[in-house]
Amino acid sequence: ALGNDARADELGFGTTPTKEEIAKIDIDAMPDGRGLPEGSGTVAKGKEVFAEKCAACHGENLEGIKEAGGDKLIGGRGTLNTAKPVKTIESYWPYASTVFDYVKRAMPFNEPGSLTDEEIYSVTAYILNRANIIKEDEVMNAETLPKVEMPNKDGFIPDPRPDVRHYR
Protein backbone atom coordinates (compact mmCIF):
# COMPACT_ATOMS: atom_id res chain seq x y z
CA ALA A 1 0.00 0.00 0.00
CA LEU A 2 1.56 3.25 -1.11
CA GLY A 3 0.66 6.59 0.46
CA ASN A 4 1.41 7.95 3.85
CA ASP A 5 -1.13 5.82 5.67
CA ALA A 6 1.13 2.85 5.01
CA ARG A 7 2.38 3.02 8.59
CA ALA A 8 -0.72 1.23 9.73
CA ASP A 9 0.35 -1.71 7.61
CA GLU A 10 3.16 -4.11 8.10
CA LEU A 11 6.46 -2.67 6.93
CA GLY A 12 7.92 -6.06 6.26
CA PHE A 13 11.63 -5.28 6.48
CA GLY A 14 13.90 -8.14 7.33
CA THR A 15 13.87 -11.67 5.99
CA THR A 16 12.49 -14.98 7.16
CA PRO A 17 15.23 -16.89 8.93
CA THR A 18 15.65 -20.52 7.96
CA LYS A 19 15.03 -23.19 10.60
CA GLU A 20 18.75 -23.85 10.61
CA GLU A 21 19.56 -20.20 11.23
CA ILE A 22 17.23 -20.17 14.22
CA ALA A 23 18.37 -23.54 15.53
CA LYS A 24 21.99 -22.47 15.44
CA ILE A 25 21.44 -19.79 18.05
CA ASP A 26 18.31 -21.06 19.81
CA ILE A 27 20.43 -22.60 22.55
CA ASP A 28 18.37 -21.89 25.63
CA ALA A 29 16.92 -24.58 27.88
CA MET A 30 13.75 -23.89 29.85
CA PRO A 31 12.66 -25.35 33.21
CA ASP A 32 10.03 -27.55 31.56
CA GLY A 33 12.63 -28.99 29.23
CA ARG A 34 11.83 -26.99 26.12
CA GLY A 35 15.01 -26.26 24.26
CA LEU A 36 16.97 -29.16 25.71
CA PRO A 37 18.76 -30.97 22.90
CA GLU A 38 19.00 -34.68 22.12
CA GLY A 39 21.66 -36.78 23.78
CA SER A 40 22.34 -37.54 27.40
CA GLY A 41 25.07 -37.56 30.00
CA THR A 42 26.23 -39.48 33.01
CA VAL A 43 27.75 -38.55 36.34
CA ALA A 44 30.82 -40.63 35.57
CA LYS A 45 31.46 -38.90 32.27
CA GLY A 46 30.71 -35.58 33.97
CA LYS A 47 33.35 -36.25 36.59
CA GLU A 48 35.94 -36.53 33.82
CA VAL A 49 34.71 -33.40 32.04
CA PHE A 50 34.70 -31.48 35.27
CA ALA A 51 38.20 -32.51 36.24
CA GLU A 52 39.52 -31.61 32.86
CA LYS A 53 37.56 -28.46 32.00
CA CYS A 54 36.14 -26.97 35.18
CA ALA A 55 38.12 -27.88 38.28
CA ALA A 56 40.90 -25.41 37.57
CA CYS A 57 38.54 -22.54 38.26
CA HIS A 58 35.82 -24.09 40.42
CA GLY A 59 37.99 -26.38 42.56
CA GLU A 60 38.28 -30.12 42.67
CA ASN A 61 35.55 -30.23 45.23
CA LEU A 62 33.42 -27.63 43.48
CA GLU A 63 34.27 -25.32 46.36
CA GLY A 64 35.07 -22.37 44.11
CA ILE A 65 38.39 -20.62 43.54
CA LYS A 66 38.22 -16.99 44.42
CA GLU A 67 41.23 -15.86 42.42
CA ALA A 68 39.84 -17.49 39.27
CA GLY A 69 36.40 -16.01 39.77
CA GLY A 70 34.96 -19.52 39.60
CA ASP A 71 31.98 -19.72 41.90
CA LYS A 72 31.43 -22.36 44.56
CA LEU A 73 28.88 -24.71 42.99
CA ILE A 74 27.67 -26.89 45.86
CA GLY A 75 26.96 -26.69 49.57
CA GLY A 76 25.22 -23.99 51.54
CA ARG A 77 21.93 -25.74 52.20
CA GLY A 78 20.22 -24.25 55.22
CA THR A 79 22.26 -21.07 55.15
CA LEU A 80 19.94 -18.82 53.16
CA ASN A 81 18.17 -17.45 56.22
CA THR A 82 21.35 -16.94 58.20
CA ALA A 83 23.72 -13.99 58.42
CA LYS A 84 26.12 -15.77 56.07
CA PRO A 85 24.05 -17.19 53.24
CA VAL A 86 25.98 -19.42 50.84
CA LYS A 87 24.29 -19.29 47.44
CA THR A 88 25.14 -22.22 45.17
CA ILE A 89 23.44 -24.44 42.63
CA GLU A 90 22.71 -26.77 45.52
CA SER A 91 21.35 -24.23 47.95
CA TYR A 92 19.85 -21.55 45.77
CA TRP A 93 19.14 -22.44 42.15
CA PRO A 94 15.46 -23.22 41.59
CA TYR A 95 15.75 -25.14 38.29
CA ALA A 96 18.19 -27.75 37.01
CA SER A 97 17.64 -26.56 33.44
CA THR A 98 19.54 -23.38 34.31
CA VAL A 99 22.72 -25.39 34.91
CA PHE A 100 22.54 -26.88 31.45
CA ASP A 101 21.56 -23.56 29.89
CA TYR A 102 24.29 -21.54 31.54
CA VAL A 103 27.09 -24.02 31.04
CA LYS A 104 26.12 -24.33 27.41
CA ARG A 105 26.24 -20.60 26.80
CA ALA A 106 29.09 -19.48 29.01
CA MET A 107 31.33 -22.29 30.28
CA PRO A 108 34.11 -23.19 30.41
CA PHE A 109 34.90 -19.54 30.88
CA ASN A 110 38.09 -19.75 28.87
CA GLU A 111 36.43 -21.66 26.02
CA PRO A 112 32.76 -20.78 26.04
CA GLY A 113 30.53 -22.79 23.76
CA SER A 114 33.12 -25.49 23.26
CA LEU A 115 31.40 -28.46 24.96
CA THR A 116 29.24 -31.06 23.22
CA ASP A 117 25.69 -31.48 24.43
CA GLU A 118 26.71 -34.83 25.89
CA GLU A 119 29.49 -33.18 27.87
CA ILE A 120 27.08 -30.55 29.14
CA TYR A 121 24.48 -33.13 30.20
CA SER A 122 27.27 -35.04 31.90
CA VAL A 123 28.84 -32.19 33.78
CA THR A 124 25.38 -31.05 34.82
CA ALA A 125 24.70 -34.55 36.12
CA TYR A 126 28.01 -34.53 37.96
CA ILE A 127 27.35 -31.20 39.67
CA LEU A 128 23.81 -32.23 40.63
CA ASN A 129 25.16 -35.48 42.02
CA ARG A 130 27.88 -33.79 44.01
CA ALA A 131 25.11 -31.51 45.31
CA ASN A 132 23.25 -34.57 46.55
CA ILE A 133 20.37 -33.77 44.27
CA ILE A 134 20.54 -36.77 41.94
CA LYS A 135 21.96 -40.24 42.44
CA GLU A 136 25.22 -41.41 40.95
CA ASP A 137 23.53 -43.61 38.36
CA GLU A 138 20.98 -41.10 37.12
CA VAL A 139 21.28 -40.15 33.48
CA MET A 140 20.54 -36.59 32.46
CA ASN A 141 18.71 -35.88 29.19
CA ALA A 142 15.81 -33.83 27.84
CA GLU A 143 13.37 -35.98 29.78
CA THR A 144 15.06 -36.48 33.10
CA LEU A 145 16.63 -33.07 33.65
CA PRO A 146 13.34 -31.12 33.86
CA LYS A 147 12.11 -33.58 36.47
CA VAL A 148 14.98 -32.91 38.84
CA GLU A 149 13.61 -31.17 41.94
CA MET A 150 15.97 -28.52 43.19
CA PRO A 151 16.16 -27.97 46.98
CA ASN A 152 15.29 -24.29 46.70
CA LYS A 153 12.59 -24.63 44.03
CA ASP A 154 10.07 -22.83 46.23
CA GLY A 155 12.54 -20.21 47.35
CA PHE A 156 11.47 -17.39 45.06
CA ILE A 157 8.68 -14.88 45.43
CA PRO A 158 7.51 -12.04 43.20
CA ASP A 159 8.73 -8.51 43.68
CA PRO A 160 6.45 -6.65 46.12
CA ARG A 161 8.14 -3.29 45.81
CA PRO A 162 7.58 -0.51 46.67
CA ASP A 163 8.24 -2.30 49.94
CA VAL A 164 9.19 0.84 51.83
CA ARG A 165 6.08 2.93 51.51
CA HIS A 166 6.94 6.51 52.22
CA TYR A 167 4.63 8.51 50.01
CA ARG A 168 3.90 12.17 49.75
Binding site: E10, L11, I22, I25, M30, P85, W93, A106, G113, H166
Partner: protein, 417 residues
Protein backbone atom coordinates in the same frame (compact mmCIF):
# COMPACT_ATOMS: atom_id res chain seq x y z
CA UNK B 1 46.08 -9.38 23.05
CA UNK B 2 45.14 -5.76 22.39
CA UNK B 3 47.27 -2.68 22.51
CA UNK B 4 46.82 -1.10 25.92
CA UNK B 5 46.37 2.62 26.35
CA UNK B 6 49.94 2.77 27.48
CA UNK B 7 51.47 0.96 24.54
CA UNK B 8 49.12 2.98 22.37
CA UNK B 9 50.51 6.27 23.56
CA UNK B 10 54.14 5.28 23.83
CA UNK B 11 54.00 3.99 20.29
CA UNK B 12 52.53 7.25 19.13
CA UNK B 13 55.31 9.23 20.71
CA UNK B 14 57.89 6.87 19.24
CA UNK B 15 56.44 7.18 15.77
CA UNK B 16 56.22 10.93 16.04
CA UNK B 17 59.85 10.98 17.11
CA UNK B 18 60.79 8.80 14.18
CA UNK B 19 58.95 11.15 11.85
CA UNK B 20 60.71 14.11 13.43
CA UNK B 21 57.41 15.43 14.72
CA UNK B 22 57.74 14.71 18.41
CA UNK B 23 55.68 17.13 20.47
CA UNK B 24 57.35 18.59 23.56
CA UNK B 25 56.04 16.06 26.02
CA UNK B 26 55.07 17.81 29.20
CA UNK B 27 54.30 14.48 30.84
CA UNK B 28 55.05 10.89 30.04
CA UNK B 29 51.55 10.04 28.90
CA UNK B 30 48.21 11.65 28.15
CA UNK B 31 45.22 10.32 30.07
CA UNK B 32 42.98 7.77 28.36
CA UNK B 33 40.81 9.50 25.78
CA UNK B 34 43.34 12.28 25.17
CA UNK B 35 46.39 12.88 23.03
CA UNK B 36 49.36 14.76 24.47
CA UNK B 37 50.11 18.00 22.63
CA UNK B 38 52.81 20.54 23.36
CA UNK B 39 51.72 23.41 25.60
CA UNK B 40 52.90 26.79 24.36
CA UNK B 41 53.95 29.34 26.94
CA UNK B 42 51.57 31.90 25.41
CA UNK B 43 48.85 30.45 23.17
CA UNK B 44 48.22 33.88 21.63
CA UNK B 45 51.72 34.04 20.16
CA UNK B 46 51.83 30.81 18.17
CA UNK B 47 49.28 29.19 15.92
CA UNK B 48 47.41 26.33 17.54
CA UNK B 49 46.89 22.80 16.27
CA UNK B 50 45.75 22.52 12.68
CA UNK B 51 42.05 22.12 12.01
CA UNK B 52 40.99 18.49 11.49
CA UNK B 53 44.46 17.07 11.89
CA UNK B 54 42.75 14.81 14.43
CA UNK B 55 41.20 13.00 11.47
CA UNK B 56 37.80 14.59 12.01
CA UNK B 57 36.94 13.08 15.40
CA UNK B 58 38.20 14.97 18.43
CA UNK B 59 39.52 13.86 21.79
CA UNK B 60 39.26 15.36 25.26
CA UNK B 61 41.90 17.64 26.71
CA UNK B 62 45.08 16.06 27.97
CA UNK B 63 44.43 17.90 31.25
CA UNK B 64 41.23 16.00 31.99
CA UNK B 65 41.86 12.82 33.89
CA UNK B 66 38.63 11.38 35.21
CA UNK B 67 38.12 7.78 34.17
CA UNK B 68 35.85 4.86 34.82
CA UNK B 69 37.04 2.81 37.80
CA UNK B 70 37.08 -0.97 37.69
CA UNK B 71 35.84 -2.82 40.72
CA UNK B 72 38.48 -5.39 41.62
CA UNK B 73 36.74 -8.55 40.47
CA UNK B 74 38.77 -11.72 39.99
CA UNK B 75 38.67 -11.56 36.21
CA UNK B 76 38.68 -8.61 33.84
CA UNK B 77 36.27 -10.45 31.53
CA UNK B 78 33.52 -10.54 34.10
CA UNK B 79 33.87 -7.20 35.77
CA UNK B 80 32.40 -3.74 36.08
CA UNK B 81 33.50 -0.15 35.92
CA UNK B 82 31.89 2.85 37.55
CA UNK B 83 31.23 6.32 36.16
CA UNK B 84 33.15 9.20 37.80
CA UNK B 85 30.00 10.99 38.95
CA UNK B 86 31.97 13.52 41.00
CA UNK B 87 33.31 15.23 37.90
CA UNK B 88 30.04 14.97 35.98
CA UNK B 89 28.26 18.11 34.78
CA UNK B 90 24.65 18.36 33.69
CA UNK B 91 22.89 15.07 33.05
CA UNK B 92 24.60 13.50 30.01
CA UNK B 93 27.33 10.96 30.73
CA UNK B 94 30.15 11.20 28.20
CA UNK B 95 29.93 7.97 26.19
CA UNK B 96 33.54 7.16 27.03
CA UNK B 97 32.71 7.24 30.74
CA UNK B 98 29.46 5.25 30.71
CA UNK B 99 29.58 2.56 33.40
CA UNK B 100 30.09 -1.02 32.26
CA UNK B 101 29.15 -4.49 33.41
CA UNK B 102 30.50 -7.27 31.24
CA UNK B 103 30.33 -11.00 31.83
CA UNK B 104 32.50 -12.07 28.92
CA UNK B 105 34.53 -9.01 27.99
CA UNK B 106 33.67 -6.57 25.22
CA UNK B 107 33.10 -8.32 21.89
CA UNK B 108 34.28 -6.64 18.70
CA UNK B 109 31.42 -7.05 16.26
CA UNK B 110 31.31 -6.09 12.61
CA UNK B 111 27.79 -4.74 12.15
CA UNK B 112 27.72 -6.07 8.60
CA UNK B 113 27.84 -9.57 10.08
CA UNK B 114 25.41 -8.95 12.90
CA UNK B 115 21.73 -9.71 12.86
CA UNK B 116 18.79 -9.94 15.23
CA UNK B 117 16.58 -13.00 14.97
CA UNK B 118 13.08 -12.75 16.43
CA UNK B 119 11.28 -16.08 16.78
CA UNK B 120 9.19 -18.25 19.08
CA UNK B 121 5.48 -17.60 19.64
CA UNK B 122 4.94 -15.39 16.62
CA UNK B 123 3.42 -15.68 13.18
CA UNK B 124 6.40 -14.56 11.15
CA UNK B 125 9.85 -15.10 12.59
CA UNK B 126 12.26 -12.52 11.27
CA UNK B 127 15.93 -11.93 10.79
CA UNK B 128 16.98 -8.29 10.79
CA UNK B 129 20.26 -6.91 9.58
CA UNK B 130 21.36 -3.56 10.99
CA UNK B 131 20.26 -1.98 7.71
CA UNK B 132 16.83 -3.59 8.05
CA UNK B 133 16.41 -2.21 11.56
CA UNK B 134 17.38 1.28 10.48
CA UNK B 135 14.53 1.28 7.95
CA UNK B 136 11.92 1.27 10.71
CA UNK B 137 10.57 4.43 12.34
CA UNK B 138 12.94 5.40 15.12
CA UNK B 139 12.69 7.04 18.49
CA UNK B 140 15.18 8.77 20.78
CA UNK B 141 15.02 9.00 24.53
CA UNK B 142 17.38 10.49 27.10
CA UNK B 143 17.41 7.95 29.87
CA UNK B 144 19.49 6.53 32.67
CA UNK B 145 20.59 2.93 32.95
CA UNK B 146 21.52 1.78 36.45
CA UNK B 147 22.95 -1.55 37.46
CA UNK B 148 20.87 -2.97 40.30
CA UNK B 149 24.17 -3.79 41.99
CA UNK B 150 24.89 -0.07 42.35
CA UNK B 151 25.75 0.51 45.99
CA UNK B 152 26.13 -3.15 46.92
CA UNK B 153 29.14 -2.39 49.09
CA UNK B 154 27.13 -0.01 51.28
CA UNK B 155 24.33 -2.29 52.56
CA UNK B 156 25.89 -3.02 55.92
CA UNK B 157 28.28 -0.13 56.51
CA UNK B 158 29.98 2.71 54.67
CA UNK B 159 32.63 1.02 52.54
CA UNK B 160 33.91 2.81 49.46
CA UNK B 161 35.42 6.26 49.63
CA UNK B 162 34.07 8.08 46.61
CA UNK B 163 30.70 8.61 44.99
CA UNK B 164 32.14 6.83 41.98
CA UNK B 165 32.45 3.72 44.14
CA UNK B 166 29.18 4.07 46.00
CA UNK B 167 26.96 5.24 43.12
CA UNK B 168 28.88 5.04 39.84
CA UNK B 169 26.88 2.21 38.25
CA UNK B 170 24.43 4.64 36.69
CA UNK B 171 24.80 6.74 33.55
CA UNK B 172 22.58 8.74 31.20
CA UNK B 173 22.64 8.89 27.41
CA UNK B 174 20.36 9.94 24.61
CA UNK B 175 19.53 6.58 23.06
CA UNK B 176 18.05 6.01 19.59
CA UNK B 177 16.49 2.93 18.06
CA UNK B 178 13.35 1.12 17.03
CA UNK B 179 10.47 0.71 19.48
CA UNK B 180 10.30 -2.99 20.29
CA UNK B 181 6.52 -2.71 19.90
CA UNK B 182 7.05 -2.06 16.19
CA UNK B 183 8.96 -5.30 15.84
CA UNK B 184 6.39 -7.22 17.87
CA UNK B 185 3.67 -5.94 15.54
CA UNK B 186 5.71 -6.99 12.55
CA UNK B 187 6.26 -10.56 13.68
CA UNK B 188 2.70 -10.97 14.99
CA UNK B 189 2.62 -12.17 18.58
CA UNK B 190 0.64 -15.36 19.31
CA UNK B 191 -1.96 -15.63 22.04
CA UNK B 192 -0.49 -16.67 25.33
CA UNK B 193 2.88 -15.07 24.74
CA UNK B 194 3.98 -13.54 28.04
CA UNK B 195 7.78 -13.36 28.10
CA UNK B 196 10.62 -12.64 25.71
CA UNK B 197 14.12 -13.99 26.04
CA UNK B 198 16.70 -11.38 25.05
CA UNK B 199 20.12 -12.77 24.21
CA UNK B 200 23.48 -11.15 23.54
CA UNK B 201 26.28 -12.11 21.19
CA UNK B 202 29.05 -11.81 23.76
CA UNK B 203 31.08 -14.64 25.26
CA UNK B 204 28.56 -14.91 28.10
CA UNK B 205 25.71 -15.13 25.56
CA UNK B 206 23.95 -13.03 28.19
CA UNK B 207 20.23 -13.65 28.61
CA UNK B 208 17.30 -12.20 30.49
CA UNK B 209 13.56 -12.83 30.32
CA UNK B 210 11.48 -9.72 29.74
CA UNK B 211 7.77 -9.47 30.60
CA UNK B 212 5.64 -8.99 27.52
CA UNK B 213 3.86 -5.90 28.83
CA UNK B 214 7.19 -4.15 29.27
CA UNK B 215 8.19 -5.17 25.76
CA UNK B 216 5.03 -3.61 24.36
CA UNK B 217 5.09 -0.46 26.45
CA UNK B 218 8.39 1.39 26.08
CA UNK B 219 11.21 -1.02 25.18
CA UNK B 220 13.61 0.11 22.47
CA UNK B 221 16.01 -1.83 20.28
CA UNK B 222 18.76 0.76 20.29
CA UNK B 223 21.56 1.37 17.83
CA UNK B 224 22.36 4.96 18.82
CA UNK B 225 23.90 6.61 21.86
CA UNK B 226 24.51 10.34 22.26
CA UNK B 227 24.14 11.09 18.57
CA UNK B 228 26.29 8.31 17.12
CA UNK B 229 26.37 4.53 17.11
CA UNK B 230 26.35 2.69 20.43
CA UNK B 231 29.76 2.41 21.98
CA UNK B 232 31.25 -1.13 21.95
CA UNK B 233 31.01 -1.27 25.76
CA UNK B 234 27.31 -0.46 25.51
CA UNK B 235 26.38 -3.22 23.11
CA UNK B 236 27.51 -2.12 19.66
CA UNK B 237 25.84 -2.55 17.31
CA UNK B 238 22.53 -3.32 19.09
CA UNK B 239 21.16 -3.16 22.62
CA UNK B 240 17.80 -3.75 24.24
CA UNK B 241 16.61 -0.85 26.39
CA UNK B 242 13.99 -1.39 29.07
CA UNK B 243 13.45 2.08 30.54
CA UNK B 244 13.59 2.00 34.34
CA UNK B 245 14.54 -1.68 34.58
CA UNK B 246 17.76 -2.86 36.17
CA UNK B 247 20.78 -2.53 33.87
CA UNK B 248 21.42 -6.25 33.48
CA UNK B 249 18.16 -6.61 31.54
CA UNK B 250 19.27 -4.10 28.88
CA UNK B 251 20.90 -6.90 26.88
CA UNK B 252 23.94 -5.72 24.92
CA UNK B 253 25.17 -7.04 21.57
CA UNK B 254 21.56 -8.20 21.10
CA UNK B 255 21.28 -11.10 18.65
CA UNK B 256 18.05 -12.90 19.51
CA UNK B 257 14.57 -12.40 20.91
CA UNK B 258 12.54 -15.53 21.62
CA UNK B 259 8.89 -15.07 22.41
CA UNK B 260 7.45 -17.52 24.93
CA UNK B 261 4.69 -18.15 27.42
CA UNK B 262 7.03 -18.58 30.38
CA UNK B 263 10.17 -16.92 31.69
CA UNK B 264 13.34 -18.79 30.80
CA UNK B 265 14.86 -18.81 34.29
CA UNK B 266 18.34 -18.00 33.11
CA UNK B 267 21.28 -17.90 35.49
CA UNK B 268 21.12 -14.09 35.64
CA UNK B 269 17.54 -14.12 36.90
CA UNK B 270 17.92 -16.96 39.40
CA UNK B 271 21.47 -17.30 40.72
CA UNK B 272 22.05 -13.56 40.26
CA UNK B 273 19.84 -10.45 40.26
CA UNK B 274 17.48 -11.90 42.82
CA UNK B 275 17.08 -10.28 46.21
CA UNK B 276 17.64 -12.65 49.14
CA UNK B 277 15.59 -11.73 52.20
CA UNK B 278 16.27 -12.44 55.86
CA UNK B 279 13.87 -15.40 55.91
CA UNK B 280 15.76 -17.14 53.11
CA UNK B 281 13.22 -16.40 50.41
CA UNK B 282 14.39 -14.39 47.43
CA UNK B 283 12.53 -11.88 45.31
CA UNK B 284 12.69 -12.59 41.62
CA UNK B 285 12.13 -10.30 38.64
CA UNK B 286 12.53 -7.24 40.79
CA UNK B 287 13.13 -5.17 37.73
CA UNK B 288 12.34 -1.56 38.53
CA UNK B 289 15.03 0.80 39.77
CA UNK B 290 13.34 2.81 42.50
CA UNK B 291 13.84 6.53 43.12
CA UNK B 292 17.36 7.40 44.24
CA UNK B 293 19.57 10.43 44.57
CA UNK B 294 23.09 11.28 45.63
CA UNK B 295 25.14 14.39 46.24
CA UNK B 296 28.09 14.36 43.86
CA UNK B 297 29.60 17.61 45.17
CA UNK B 298 30.86 17.73 47.80
CA UNK B 299 31.41 14.00 47.99
CA UNK B 300 33.77 11.41 49.42
CA UNK B 301 37.51 11.99 49.28
CA UNK B 302 37.17 15.66 48.39
CA UNK B 303 38.45 18.45 50.58
CA UNK B 304 36.68 21.79 50.87
CA UNK B 305 39.26 24.57 50.88
CA UNK B 306 37.59 26.45 53.73
CA UNK B 307 34.33 27.88 55.06
CA UNK B 308 32.13 29.81 52.66
CA UNK B 309 29.70 29.36 49.83
CA UNK B 310 29.40 26.04 48.01
CA UNK B 311 26.86 24.88 45.51
CA UNK B 312 25.82 21.41 46.58
CA UNK B 313 24.90 19.42 43.48
CA UNK B 314 24.00 15.88 42.57
CA UNK B 315 21.75 13.58 40.61
CA UNK B 316 18.33 12.08 41.23
CA UNK B 317 16.55 9.46 39.15
CA UNK B 318 13.66 7.02 39.24
CA UNK B 319 12.72 4.02 37.14
CA UNK B 320 9.07 4.88 37.72
CA UNK B 321 9.04 8.25 36.02
CA UNK B 322 10.07 11.83 36.55
CA UNK B 323 11.69 13.18 39.69
CA UNK B 324 9.24 15.44 41.51
CA UNK B 325 11.54 17.00 44.06
CA UNK B 326 14.89 16.67 45.76
CA UNK B 327 15.49 17.77 49.31
CA UNK B 328 18.88 18.45 50.83
CA UNK B 329 19.85 18.41 54.48
CA UNK B 330 23.02 20.02 55.78
CA UNK B 331 22.31 19.21 59.44
CA UNK B 332 22.22 15.46 59.34
CA UNK B 333 18.52 15.18 58.56
CA UNK B 334 17.07 17.59 61.12
CA UNK B 335 15.85 19.95 58.43
CA UNK B 336 15.33 19.38 54.73
CA UNK B 337 15.29 22.07 52.05
CA UNK B 338 14.09 21.91 48.46
CA UNK B 339 16.85 21.87 45.87
CA UNK B 340 16.38 23.38 42.43
CA UNK B 341 16.05 20.93 39.56
CA UNK B 342 17.71 21.49 36.20
CA UNK B 343 15.13 21.39 33.44
CA UNK B 344 13.91 19.66 31.46
CA UNK B 345 13.12 17.07 34.12
CA UNK B 346 12.71 13.91 32.07
CA UNK B 347 11.07 10.66 33.14
CA UNK B 348 13.48 7.79 33.90
CA UNK B 349 16.44 10.10 33.50
CA UNK B 350 19.19 11.57 35.64
CA UNK B 351 17.99 14.88 37.00
CA UNK B 352 20.59 17.39 38.13
CA UNK B 353 19.78 19.22 41.35
CA UNK B 354 21.57 22.17 42.90
CA UNK B 355 21.42 23.70 46.35
CA UNK B 356 23.28 26.78 47.61
CA UNK B 357 25.05 26.33 50.92
CA UNK B 358 27.31 28.37 53.11
CA UNK B 359 29.55 26.13 55.16
CA UNK B 360 30.37 27.59 58.54
CA UNK B 361 33.50 25.50 58.91
CA UNK B 362 32.06 23.17 61.54
CA UNK B 363 31.61 19.42 61.03
CA UNK B 364 28.48 18.82 58.97
CA UNK B 365 26.45 15.87 57.75
CA UNK B 366 24.90 16.42 54.32
CA UNK B 367 22.47 14.23 52.40
CA UNK B 368 19.71 14.36 49.82
CA UNK B 369 16.48 12.50 49.22
CA UNK B 370 14.15 12.60 46.26
CA UNK B 371 10.59 11.77 45.42
CA UNK B 372 9.22 10.79 42.04
CA UNK B 373 6.00 11.43 40.19
CA UNK B 374 4.32 8.44 41.85
CA UNK B 375 4.79 10.19 45.20
CA UNK B 376 7.34 7.61 46.37
CA UNK B 377 9.96 9.11 48.66
CA UNK B 378 13.51 7.77 48.71
CA UNK B 379 13.85 5.85 51.99
CA UNK B 380 16.78 5.55 54.36
CA UNK B 381 19.06 2.54 54.10
CA UNK B 382 17.72 1.46 57.49
CA UNK B 383 14.17 1.57 56.13
CA UNK B 384 15.22 -0.78 53.35
CA UNK B 385 17.21 -3.25 55.40
CA UNK B 386 14.43 -3.31 58.00
CA UNK B 387 12.20 -4.86 55.34
CA UNK B 388 14.73 -6.85 53.32
CA UNK B 389 17.39 -7.80 55.82
CA UNK B 390 21.10 -7.57 55.18
CA UNK B 391 21.60 -10.34 52.65
CA UNK B 392 20.45 -8.51 49.54
CA UNK B 393 22.99 -7.45 46.98
CA UNK B 394 20.83 -5.46 44.62
CA UNK B 395 18.47 -2.49 44.60
CA UNK B 396 19.91 -0.39 47.40
CA UNK B 397 18.32 3.00 46.81
CA UNK B 398 18.60 4.40 50.32
CA UNK B 399 19.69 7.88 51.33
CA UNK B 400 23.43 8.52 51.06
CA UNK B 401 25.15 10.92 53.42
CA UNK B 402 28.55 12.58 53.43
CA UNK B 403 30.32 13.84 56.53
CA UNK B 404 32.31 17.04 56.29
CA UNK B 405 35.06 17.42 58.85
CA UNK B 406 36.26 20.68 60.37
CA UNK B 407 39.23 20.42 58.03
CA UNK B 408 36.93 20.27 55.00
CA UNK B 409 37.53 16.60 54.33
CA UNK B 410 34.51 14.70 53.01
CA UNK B 411 33.90 11.07 53.94
CA UNK B 412 31.34 8.35 53.36
CA UNK B 413 28.64 8.64 56.01
CA UNK B 414 26.20 6.09 54.64
CA UNK B 415 23.66 5.01 57.30
CA UNK B 416 24.08 8.23 59.28
CA UNK B 417 20.98 9.93 57.84
Amino acid sequence: PQPTRRSFFLATAAAAAAAGTLPQLARAEAPAGAIEFPVPEDPTKVQGRLTNDDGGYGTRSQFETEARWRFGTATKESSWTMTPLASGLGIITPSGLHFERHHGGIPTINPANHSLIVHGMCDKPKKYTMADLKRFPSVSRTMFIECSGNGLTEFKQPTLKTVQGTHGLTSTSEWTGVPLSTILSEVGIKDGAAWILAEGADAAVMTRSVPMDKAWSDAIIAYGQNGEALRPEQGYPLRLLLPGYEGNTHIKWLRRLEISDKPFMTREETSKYTDLLADGKARQFSMTMEAKSVITFPSGDMKLPGPGFYEITGLAWSGRGAIRDVEVTVDGGKTWNLASLQGPVLPICHTRFRFPWVWDGKPALIACRCSDETGYVQPTIADITAVRGLNSVYHLNGIMAWAIGADGSVTNAAHQV
